[in-house]
């Protein structure tokens, strides 16, 4: 099971251990001071302070090592990070043993802090590694208490806390060591069992997710092929109807004109739908984005001109407010332009005669915020979270405008998210709604 955890997450955990250690150093200094000053427990405080200092240097070195391994946000090898984690745990066990030595040995209840290390190593490392650490902890602590018990090394008693002499009581020492060892091994056994189950579960989920993505790609490719074929037929139908509709093949009776007009309209709608579906599917299937840097200001001006020509017929006033600092943005130009157009055309479409559409672009440092505000019909509150779904059209939109594919907003969402931004909508208190999306000035490469 070794190295199953993602390297990056292992690296994060390794850094987390360093942070924990800073806290532990602080706690050690405070505990030593409080025990001596306020609880009047006689401690070898000076030794403990020296140990804290040593621990600080050791932790700073580990911090530096981890920074070096993950420098320039490059991917370190999982084996290297794994070794650092193992080294940290071994080091911690030795230092904890030394702390215990200077603070009562077996008489110090903090001996059970070894359990924390066992839990951490069982989660982060392999089963074998974990049992090894449990063995090492038992050996270190066992040697300490045995050496103290036999008088080979000095015993620093916790005067005023535990009964003096326990450390030399063979039965007590043996019993405590037995329970201590069993505890550590049981903790490792239980934690590794749970951790392995979780890892296996995580693997399964990742695999299922990969399969889903593959299936989704196949589905999209299928949709693309079918839609493309359908578009070919529709284009031919439309072209043929056009010749009759325009009277190129002779004059039509009123009834013929009406029926051909209907067929013409429905084919146009079907074509618009197919074109939107193609756009959306392309956006979904597109692999590496074709990123270029362009003037967002110029793009907005162009989109605005297109929207204005549509708005004129309905007497809708279209205004724009682009922050002076907004200029170059890097992303997929065609898709972003299409997204802005989509939102503007929607606003014009669902705003009644004489209404107002405002486009605002704000500079937010690393990103821009684009807002399209109208005073149209707004969106029913209970449908807010559905309107970005494919094929969904709000009930009031459907009632007001028969034309519409329900794909424009899902396309916009797809494009914005592909660029690492987010899109949202809210109703304005005075009526109408505001669509806003953020766009990083520089789209991160996937």
């Amino acid at each position: 099971m070794e190295n199953l955890l993602q390297t990056t997450s292992l690296a994060r955990r390794a850094s987390w251990l360093v942070t924990l250690r800073w806290a532990a150093i602080g706690a050690l200094v405070v505990a030593a001071t409080v025990s001596r000053r306020f609880m009047h427990i006689d401690l070898a405080s000076r030794h403990l302070y020296v140990l804290s200092g040593f621990l600080g240097v050791y932790n700073a070195a580990l911090y530096g090592l981890l920074r070096w391994l993950t420098r320039d946000s490059r991917e370190p090898s999982s084996a290297a990070i794994g070794r650092v984690v193992t080294f940290q745990i071994c080091g911690d066990l030795v230092i904890l043993t030394m702390i215990l030595h200077f603070s009562g040995g077996i008489e110090n209840p903090f001996a059970f802090f070894f359990v924390f290390h066992m839990i951490i190593v069982s989660i982060l490392r392999s089963r074998r590694q974990s049992y090894f650490q449990a063995g090492l902890a038992s050996a270190l602590f066992g040697s300490l208490v045995w050496l103290e018990c036999c008088g080979f090394i000095h015993h620093y008693p916790l005067q005023g806390f535990a009964g003096h002499g326990l450390y030399a009581n063979g039965v007590f020492v043996l019993g405590t060591l037995f329970v201590f060892g069993v505890t550590l091994f049981l903790v490792v056994f239980m934690t590794t069992s749970i951790a392995e189950q979780l890892r296996a579960h995580q693997e399964e989920l990742e695999k299922a997710n990969r399969q889903l993505q593959e299936k989704d790609t196949i589905k999209n490719e299928y949709v693309l092929r079918v839609t493309h074929d359908v578009k070919g037929h529709l284009a031919a139908i439309q072209s043929c109807i056009d010749t009759v509709h325009e009277g190129l093949l002779g004059p039509l009776s009123e009834g013929q004109k009406d029926m051909i007009g209907r067929a013409h309209r429905r084919t146009s709608q079907a074509l618009a739908f197919v074109a939107d579906l193609l756009k959306l599917t392309h956006a979904k299937l597109a692999g590496e984005p074709g990123i270029s840097c362009f003037s967002l200001r110029e793009m907005i001006a162009k989109a605005l001109a297109a929207a204005k020509s549509r708005a004129e017929g309905k007497g809708i006033r279209v205004s724009v407010d682009v922050a002076p600092s907004v200029e170059i943005v890097c992303g997929e130009q065609v898709l972003i332009e299409e997204t802005i157009l989509n939102l503007l055309f929607n606003a014009v479409k669902y705003t009644p005669q004489g209404g107002r559409v405002e486009l605002a672009v704000q500079d937010q440092g690393t990103q821009v915020l684009v807002q399209v505000r109208d005073n149209g019909m707004g969106i029913p509150e209970d449908e807010m979270d559905k309107i970005f779904q494919e094929f969904y059209r709000a009930t009031n939109a459907r009632a007001a405008e028969r034309d519409g594919t329900g794909l424009g907003l899902s396309f916009a969402k797809q494009v914005v998210e592909r660029h690492g931004g987010c899109i949202a909508v809210r109703n304005n208190p005075e009526g109408g709604c505001t669509f806003s999306f953020t766009l990083p000035k520089r789209t991160p490469r996937p």
């Binding site: 839609t227 070919g232 031919a236 072209s239 043929c240 010749t243 325009e246 190129l248 392309h282």
Partner: protein, 131 residues
């Protein structure tokens, strides 16, 4: 230039026929070909004033290949080409005349299918005026 000769190269007989009706109506002489080989034969037999060329015929790039071939040949390189493209559908790339790389895609104009009769006539007239 109402009597100009226009060659439509498209493998979809219905689209070809519909365009023929539109252009016929305007008084153009319209000829058609369903693939590159037939198109070359027609061009050699009688040089058209304008070629309307579909991008995808037997192979997805047949139109591109033919347009490059025509532009390489001194005898045909002056004939304007109006390319009908459904490329956007296949690739998602929006072809615009200003984005066209002369050597890679040497055509004078693009139109997306289906082409509205008035748009087709406008484009054809504009291209013929230039020559």
């Amino acid at each position: 230039m109402a009597s100009a000769r226009i060659l439509i190269v498209d493998d979809d007989p219905d689209i070809t026929e519909a365009m023929r009706v539109v252009l016929d109506h305007r008084g153009y002489q319209v000829d058609s070909a369903a693939d590159s080989t037939m198109a070359m034969e027609r061009i050699k037999a009688k040089r058209p004033d304008l070629i309307i060329l579909d991008v995808m015929m037997t192979t997805p790039q047949e139109g591109f290949v033919l347009s490059r071939e025509l532009k390489r040949d001194p005898a045909t390189k002056m004939i304007p080409i109006l390319m009908l493209t459904a490329v956007k559908d296949k690739t998602g790339i929006d072809f615009r005349p200003e984005a066209g790389d002369e050597s890679w895609l040497p055509v004078e104009a693009f139109l997306d299918k289906p082409v509205k009769p008035d748009v087709l006539v406008q484009k054809v007239e504009a291209l013929l005026r230039k020559t």
